[in-house]
């Protein structure tokens, strides 16, 4: 079942919205091509850091829909990090951030847990997937990247070109920077904060805002006080950065996320700083957020502090495995039984 005798990852089940993402498609916004990339860039970077991968390597972005993953043809090291998901290897619970070696016959299961919306699985491999426009990032709306431009689904097989040696068989890693906090999400005001009077900006910062139900990788919708514009709400289209908070005519903010369109025509009151966009992305529908504004110099300083954690290698605390399922102890020829071909 494997190609060229190399291992493959096999998707046994996948909920909606589970996609392959690298650091995004760069340089083509000017042609209307969305960057895509991870919703939580910090958790994505953390998973690749634990895996010992080059920065920006392709990971599986798991939504609250969850995924069950197996492998064939050889073992695959997989690092994971993100929201507080329920992660199990053959029913043995794993910490929210860590590392496992997936062997033929084993099953890695990720389910929505206590909190958070996105979890990243970074295999210690280079995937054998053809990039589209220089990136593996999946943008489902335009059908670009990933496997045939689509979200992962049961039956998908992800080829592996090369893999590097796992650092340990199983380990947990402390990643306090990914823990949820109640502290406000930091923003830099602008680029169109001059479309709002001072008291409207204060109203925006105070909130509180409830995350609406219809958010996705393109945008999150916020519900709260109605904001009014001083100069109308139609602007001639200009560029949109990730985390841009635009205020349409109904006065309810829309936060533009990884799959945002490159340009748009509503005034943007503020932009979530890079270090907090992941924390914001992890908020689930119905949860409450509020904002605080920082100067751009402070945003850069915070970014520097956050990125500093990746300057030294991760400390892997080994996990001793207790459960060995019979199917793993038997032989890997049972694996095909998972999954009628």
């Amino acid at each position: 079942m494997t190609q060229n005798g190399r291992p493959q990852l096999v998707v046994l089940n996948a909920g909606p919205g589970v996609t392959l993402q690298d650091e995004g498609r760069r340089g083509l916004l000017r042609y209307g091509v969305t960057t895509a990339g991870p919703m939580d860039p910090l958790a994505f970077a953390t998973a690749n850091w634990i895996a010992g991968n080059p920065v920006g390597s392709t990971a599986v972005e798991v939504s609250q829909g969850g995924i069950d993953l197996a492998c064939e043809g050889g073992e695959v090291g997989i690092a994971f990090a993100g929201g507080h998901f329920q992660i199990t290897l053959d029913e043995e619970p794993m910490p929210p951030s860590g590392y496992v070696t997936l062997r033929p016959g084993s099953r890695l299961s990720i389910r929505a847990g206590e909190s958070g919306g996105w979890c990243y699985l970074a295999p210690c491999v280079q995937l054998d997937v053809e990039p589209v426009l220089n990136s593996l990032s999946t943008h489902v709306r335009s059908g670009i990247g990933g496997l045939n431009g689509k979200a992962l689904a049961a039956g998908d097989r992800i080829g592996i070109a090369t893999s590097h040696a796992p650092a340990a068989s199983m380990a947990k890693v402390k990643t306090p920077w990914l823990l949820p906090t109640a502290s406000p999400i930091r923003v830099v005001l602008g680029p169109q904060d001059d479309y709002f009077a001072a008291d409207e900006i204060a109203k925006f910062l105070d909130g509180p805002w409830k995350i609406g139900a219809r958010g996705d990788r393109m945008a999150y919708f916020l519900e709260g006080p109605v904001l009014t514009h001083v100069k109308g709400y139609n602007i001639v289209s200009d560029g949109i950065a990730m985390g841009a908070i635009q205020i349409p005519g109904n006065g309810q903010p829309i936060v533009l996320m990884a799959d945002r369109q490159p340009t748009g025509g509503y005034p943007k009151i503020a932009t979530i700083i890079g270090s907090d966009i992941g924390r914001f992305a992890q908020a689930r529908a119905g949860e409450s957020v509020h904002f605080t504004s920082v100067h751009i110099d402070e945003a850069v300083a915070i970014r520097r502090r956050v990125m500093d954690v990746f300057s030294s290698p991760p400390r892997l605390d080994p996990i001793i495995r207790r459960n060995f399922p019979a199917r793993l102890l038997l032989s890997s020829n049972l694996v095909d039984g998972y999954f009628p071909a």
């Binding site: 209307g32 289209s237 950065a241 932009t271 890079g274 110099d297």
Partner: protein, 242 residues
């Protein structure tokens, strides 16, 4: 117009994107300044610039603040604006086939009726004009064109019409576009091109760039079918001219 003659503003879109805003209107002279800065900044090959996004009226510069500080970026842009030759970007000149007949020009009767002109007049205005690519955006290959003759200025619809086909040539709100994907729209379908503005398997995946000019060559339904079959093989069926 020179950059000095309009009020250039530097606006932050977070700590990794800077908006250089030349104006707030759709105006060919403002767009020419945007595209000239885009070219000049690209020529300078500054470390830390990730990519730039020209729009009608502003240039968004995505940058890595660890490699180029905001203040340095602003200074570089100011210097470029002060020393720029002011030469507009010279793009390629395209002649793109467009069919106005039958279903291809689905909304032509609506356009003619709303504007109080004849159907053939509407076609003649559109096929006789030279458009300029102001910007791309919204979706891969989706292209916004300036230069729509006044006779074809039509307000956008109050509510969107059902999805048009890919390659729809649209007018609305004083602008024109070529839509690379099928989608609902508040604009009017005046014609359809068999050309593919975005073809990922083609060597040049994107046909048009900001600064290019576009003229439409009227074709009939039969020629549309022939050209569409050619375009499906990743051939470019439009022509460039000097």
């Amino acid at each position: 117009m020179t950059a000095a003659a309009c009020d250039v503003r530097f606006l932050d879109a977070g700590e990794t994107a800077l908006v250089v805003e030349f104006g707030t209107r759709v105006d060919p002279s403002i767009n020419a300044l945007v595209l000239a800065l885009d070219r000049d900044l690209s020529d300078r090959e500054l470390e830390g610039i990730i990519e730039t996004v020209p729009t009608y009226r502003s240039l968004m510069v995505h940058y890595n603040p660890f490699l180029i500080a905001r203040g340095d970026l602003v200074r570089q842009v100011e210097e470029l604006l002060a020393t720029s030759s002011g030469e507009p970007v010279v793009g390629r000149n395209w002649e793109i086939p467009c069919c106005y007949d039958g279903q291809h020009g689905e909304d032509l009767d609506d356009i003619a009726r709303t504007l109080g002109i004849g159907r053939e007049d509407a076609i003649a205005h559109h096929a006789g004009a030279t458009f300029r690519v102001y910007m791309c955006g919204f979706a891969p290959g989706f292209t916004y064109l300036g230069g729509l003759p006044e006779a074809l200025h039509i307000s956008r619809r109050e509510s969107p019409r059902p999805p048009h086909a890919a390659g729809a040539v649209l007018v609305g709100g004083g602008l024109a576009t070529i839509a690379s994907f099928a989608m609902p729209t508040g604009w009017y379908v005046i014609g359809q091109t068999p050309e593919r503005l975005y073809a990922p398997e083609r060597q040049d995946a994107f046909l048009l760039s900001p600064g290019d000019t576009v003229r439409f060559r009227r074709i009939g339904v039969d020629e549309f079918d022939v050209l569409e079959a050619q375009a499906a093989t990743a051939a470019v069926i439009s022509r460039t001219f000097p």
